[in-house]
């Protein structure tokens, strides 16, 4: 295992807690993962609809950065993951797009590296057994609904993440940490983060549905991996309360934060205090803090 960490722009701006907890876990588990020196923003959500060549070239530059350090790529943000995988696909066979992209980048770039999401690496490379050994503070009796979001499993041929209809990677990580996992139908339903600015109402509807379904199925908190989902589900709960008259009070935590808790890491280091829906009362009630 020798990965270069590609945090992406969200982890460095709106989701610093994801970045911080990732680094904390890497450090705690002694993983050979280092942040890539020359990673580039993947241009997500705007670039690909503007210029296909430049959009692909951005991700190809990140691939090149990994080549320079002779490392495979570990990604945290599903959007970044989708785009570097797409770039790898483009480089894998000759096409006009490939030659245009390479011309834009200005050099030959090989794409023989492995590209994986951090949760996949923990799940099947580091392994559940070793994770279980590290758990000192089990998340006992905490009912967690894992919410994967729309991007990480789609399109399945490219992402190769898990069963696209019912992924279990985070569920298994959480149950390894001693949590009760909630089987619920909306694991990969879109939260509408993409329209959160342009059409907040649509986004609110979707977010409310997801939170309500999680709660109805017995979830006490939600475990996420995507910085946009986290933001959307966490930030909007107050608005939902006003609009739908239902108090949800469901903390939305990154799986890295929950793993950190189970490993006994300091809650402030895990930046639990940065969340909008305060998780401390729940965690205290469960005896986890």
């Amino acid at each position: 295992m020798k990965y270069g960490y590609y945090p992406g722009c969200s982890a460095k701006s709106t989701a610093p807690e994801l970045d911080a907890t990732t680094l904390a876990l890497i450090d705690f588990l002694h993983l050979d993962i280092k942040e890539l020196k020359d990673w580039v923003c993947c241009g997500a959500s705007s670039m690909h609809s503007v210029d296909k060549v430049l959009h692909t070239a951005l991700s190809v530059m990140t691939l090149d950065a990994a080549n320079a350090e002779e490392r495979d790529i570990m990604v945290q943000c599903p959007a970044c993951l989708a785009h570097v995988l797409e770039a790898k696909e483009v480089l894998s066979k000759d096409s006009e797009l490939k030659s245009d992209v390479l011309e834009a980048v200005g050099k030959q770039v090989d794409a023989n590296m492995k590209i994986r999401h951090f949760s996949s690496i923990l799940h099947d490379e580091y392994g559940l057994d070793k994770i279980r050994e590290k758990v000192t503070n089990p998340l006992q009796s905490l009912s967690i609904a894992s919410y994967y979001g729309c991007l990480i499993v789609r399109p399945p041929e490219r992402m190769q993440y898990d069963d696209p209809e019912n992924p279990m990677v985070m569920d298994q990580l959480m149950s390894t940490c001693g949590a009760e996992i909630v089987q619920w139908p909306f694991k990969t339903k879109c939260c509408g983060a993409g329209t959160a600015i342009s059409d907040t109402d649509v986004s609110l509807d979707l977010t409310y549905e997801i939170l309500r379904m999680a709660k109805n199925n017995g979830a006490e908190c939600i475990c996420v991996l995507c910085p946009l989902c986290q933001n959307n589900l966490d930030l909007r709960q107050k608005k939902i309360e006003q609009r739908y008259g239902e108090k949800l009070n469901l903390p939305v935590l990154y799986y890295t934060q929950l793993l950190g808790l189970a490993f006994g890491l300091d809650p402030i280091m895990l930046q639990l205090n940065r969340l909008f829906v305060d998780p401390f009362p729940l965690l205290k009630r469960k005896g986890i803090l």
Partner: protein
Amino acid sequence: MARIGVFVCWCGSNIAETVEVSKVAEVSKSIPGVVYSVDYKYMCSDPGQELVKNAIKEYKLTGVVVASCSPRMHEKTFRKAALEAGLNPYMLEMANIREQCSWVHNNMDEGTQKSIDLVRMMVEKVKRNKPLDDISIPVTKKAMVIGGGVTGIQAALDIASGGIPVVLVEKESSIGGKMSALDETFPTLDCSQCILTPKMVEVAQHPLVQIISYAEIEKLEGFVGNFKATIRKKARYVDVDACTGCGTCWQKCPVKVDSEFEQGLGKRKAIFIPFPQAIPSRPRIDAENCLKLTKDRCGICEKVCPTKAIHYDDKDEFMEVEVGAIVVATGYKIMPVSAFPEYGGGQYPDVVTSLQFERMVCASGPTLGDLKRPSDGKLPETVVFVKCVGSRDPEHYHSYCSKICCMYVAKQTMLYRHKVHHGNCYVFYIDVRSNGKNYEEFVRRAQEQEGAQYIRGRVSSIYKDGDDMVVEGADTLTNSQIKVKCDLVVLATAMEAPDGIKQLAQKLGIGYDQHGFLTEAHPKLRPVETATAGIFLAGCALSPRDIPDSVSEGSAAAAKVLGLLSKDTLDKEGVVAIVNELTCVGCQNCIRVCPYNAIELKDICNRQGELQRQVAHVNPGLCTGCGTCTPSCPSRSIELQGFRDTELYAEINALAEL
């Protein structure tokens, strides 16, 4: 010494307009071996044929070339004439100077020259032709039908009615197939059992039909007219002859397991008959669940059996049957809900297949016809039917249409509304395919009179929200997303080739497609035949189809069998491959390329019976005369008669002289 006659036809002006026929006849005389040539206005007419016949006799012709139209048109005509004049028909060849000369060229000189060339080629060929005898193979006047569903039953009945004995092999312990599990059938809504049971009884009582249930094909040897099948009779643990079907055993048996016949919605015992009308009405023991067979406990059935018919030490038995023809009617299976993770993957009891729904509404079903949803027994007030689940979905499942779902979903909406008059039912569909007699009217009735609400669009997901099932999909007519809360979801899942069908096809030496459905010899003109002579297909083994089509095909296959077995021998053209055993080295090239498995290794032994060497041997009954074997043979020890190298080379050589 060859004595060849050449007969040049004018075909009115069809040939004569572009070919100087008299010159062709004249020049032909100079070809070595030609002793007679003539041109005539219509060679295929009676006087024309007489001309050929008389010349054969008068000039003692050893070979004939008729230069006229395509052999595809009149080769049979002229060969028959030759035979009538005492000449072996294979000593007559045709030079195609109409379709491939006069009709495609304008220039008289070119047409004439080409005609002369074509005649010369055929003269050289026919000089080297050898007389061939047509092949006559004795046939076993008995047939085997594999599969005891309605298709197989129909085929067996029709064959037996024609006076040919039939062995009907069924892999389950009772015949009846899927149809026996249906409630009412479209488009007449008559009860399936009511129309099927009499047929089951009829076939069981037919003196020429032998039913072998709970059995499978182990091996098939031989060829058309002369098959030898080995049938594995699976251990039933019940002596079928001693058993009277009294039912004491299955009443007393303490083990309850999910009933396959009830689609998992009801229970059966470890010793059981699948359904009350089963034929034969003899139980079998399910060895995986029987306490005696798994743990050597219980043994109640043996104790209570009044006729001592239970034998726990029963073993699989093998029987051999010799048959002349085989009908494969192995049916289908339907995809289970668990195959569809987007629809819950089987985690929700209230998402069922259409076959489960049949059992839920059937008066003989596990609830005796009371419609209750599986999770809590509640009467479903709203039901959603989803069509094309697994069908017409090449990205994820099957590309094909399962053909019957449109009709049975319409039927099931009616069955539902007849039980729940106030109930709501919705049908998600791509389009409605109702092309059959009275089918369109039937669907319209469901929509217009019986209150089924059709929504054009596909369903993206199904999940449970509280007590309700929620179906999310698209309504492509209003171009909106749609969410339906309901109590029960019925999936019209795709019909698939049954398990084990590929292995069976390999044993029988017949083809199957990428879906596992068996392949017909020609999709239009030979729809119930296979590429293997003597093996026929019917029903859903070919692809999804409804009951009327399946039954028609059962009869069609039976007609083919009766046609084949109506004569004592099977006659076929003499154009088959033959091996020169002196030079064959047994390298197996021909065996490997033969599309019909018509060639096998034959041992050559000395007088002491010791194996000396192996050579190829052609079974003329199986050989279809394609000749693929010939070029594969490095020592040219296998030749296709009628198209031997020397004959074809003669044609090439004839061109050297031009």
